[in-house]
Amino acid sequence: MPVQKKIAITALVPPELIFACSCEPFDVNNVIPGSKKYPRNKLCAWTAIWQEMLSKREINIDSLIVVAGGDCHNALVDGQKVSMSGIPTHFFFYPFDGDPDYLESQLYKLSDFLGNIVSPEKPGQIRELKKLGRKIDKERADGKISSSDAFRIMISFSDLMGDLDKCREAISSVKKQKIDLHNRVALIGVPPIFHDFHDVAQSLGLAVIFDELPFEFISHSGTDIHEIACDYCDYTFARPLDFRIKFLQEELEKRKVEGVIHYTQFACHHMLEDDILRSKLDYPMLTIQGDLPGNTPEQIKLRLEAFREALERS
């Protein structure tokens, strides 16, 4: 059996297609929160760290897919730096207007880059796994599993841990608990760069019952390129803000959240969305900003604690 190629991804790229091309996806963001790197020449630490690690071959991969359209503009530049270091790189663009035909053409180009589909059964297997992911999401919202366990599993759905069996085992190993759901909050924006954020929030009396981006990772699927294109074209992070806000309004109402935490990353354009999100989402909102990875800083803990007090006052 030929050795699988390891394909790094910088944001959500349909893993269905990567697996179907008999490649192993590897979401480079998953190594960042545990990293102790202080990158040179950075704006956003997320992209700067993976750029440096990939360029210096500190992460072993065969090639890279950069989500350049519809996600992160820093990634567009940092991805080119990796490309210039000699790693075969493909730039993937989501359609801003959600045009499925455009996305289908992008997926065909990606398929060519990856060597074409050789395992067409994989997307169907992933669809079944994503049903388990959605069950995890629901159980967390029902207070049956911790938010950190749910986050850990759901965030892994961008690359399914590179191995469907491993992912399935990780899901089945999640322990049931009885979680206090006072102060139900949604975490929106990019995921926090702090590896212990969900545990810290829980210890400070906040029940995170929704994670925006990881929820996207379990929400889309498809068994062939056409189906994948038709579903992933609604990936909200790539779409106009009003589309994303409508999705958030529906999800937050469904989950009866009491407050919203908007995580923003230093030097990330998503910070500019804060005032719009505040005006459109009718919930008490806390905006926090992270920069380098590590433990959740004391300044952020103060904000979380004060936010919990604010929710209890309202």
């Binding site: 008490p284 300044q299 103060l302 604010a310």
Partner: protein, 228 residues
């Protein structure tokens, strides 16, 4: 029962005896002097070190400020707490808050740099400001670069008190960006004792600003009121 606010630069103790507010203020490093003979069970703590001092209950400075200010100004809708190392703006009506703790330019530390540069006491800045005849424009929003700009203005011929007034305006402008529309705006924190800064902020915001007589003890009082 006492309210104890152990902040980044000062520690404050408040008790209410026969309806009268009694207080003591000292440097943070001397906080233990405030609680000599007081059982931890009788302390409601707040401030940056709230969880590191003995306490029966602790509350963040944000909630403490709301309860403390309510004692003096029940209709306050926005509170600005200018501390030594950060500035907090609390929108009481909207139950919202923002904290600046990344940049020194809008915190008490900034004015401390200025006082240190001129080798004067922090509390003298206000009286220097009142003697200024002109106010130079100091545009930098970064504390460190504002100091360089301050030196340039001195070289350009502005008097010490004028440069100090210019620095108060730079400071106040920085704070003003954080403040939402308010009917009743209340300022608290040690920096509020600086009348020069207060007058610069009033001028920039073009509105009356309320401040308790002793703005430094509001959070300690609020911690106490929150619990009792």
């Amino acid at each position: 029962m006492i309210g104890l606010d152990v902040g980044s630069t000062t520690a404050k103790k408040v008790s209410i005896e026969d309806g009268e507010i009694k207080y003591q203020i000292t440097g943070t490093h001397n906080w233990k002097d405030l609680v000599t003979g007081i059982d931890g069970n009788d302390i409601i703590s707040t401030g940056y070190f709230r969880n590191l001092v003995p306490h029966r209950a602790s509350v963040t400075e944000i909630t403490a400020a709301i309860y403390g200010v309510r004692h003096y100004f029940p209709d306050a809708d926005v509170i600005v707490d200018i501390g030594g190392q950060d500035t907090k703006v609390i929108d009481v009506k909207k139950n919202n808050f923002i904290i600046n703790d990344k940049c020194s330019a809008g915190t008490g530390a900034f004015l401390e740099f200025v006082a240190n540069y001129f080798k004067i006491e922090l509390k003298e800045l206000g009286s220097f400001h009142s003697r200024a005849k002109r106010i130079p424009a100091i545009n930098n929003t970064c504390g460190v670069f504002a100091l360089s700009e301050m030196i340039s203005q001195l070289v350009a011929g502005y008097a010490q008190e004028e440069v100090i007034a210019g620095m108060h305006y730079a400071f106040a402008r920085r704070i003003s960006f954080m403040i939402p529309e308010a009917q009743n705006l209340v300022l608290i924190g040690g920096t509020v004792k600086n009348k020069g800064m207060l007058s610069a902020l009033k001028d920039i915001l073009q509105k009356e600003i309320l401040a308790p007589d002793e703005p430094q003890i509001v959070n300690a009082l609020g911690a106490l009121k929150y619990y009792c």
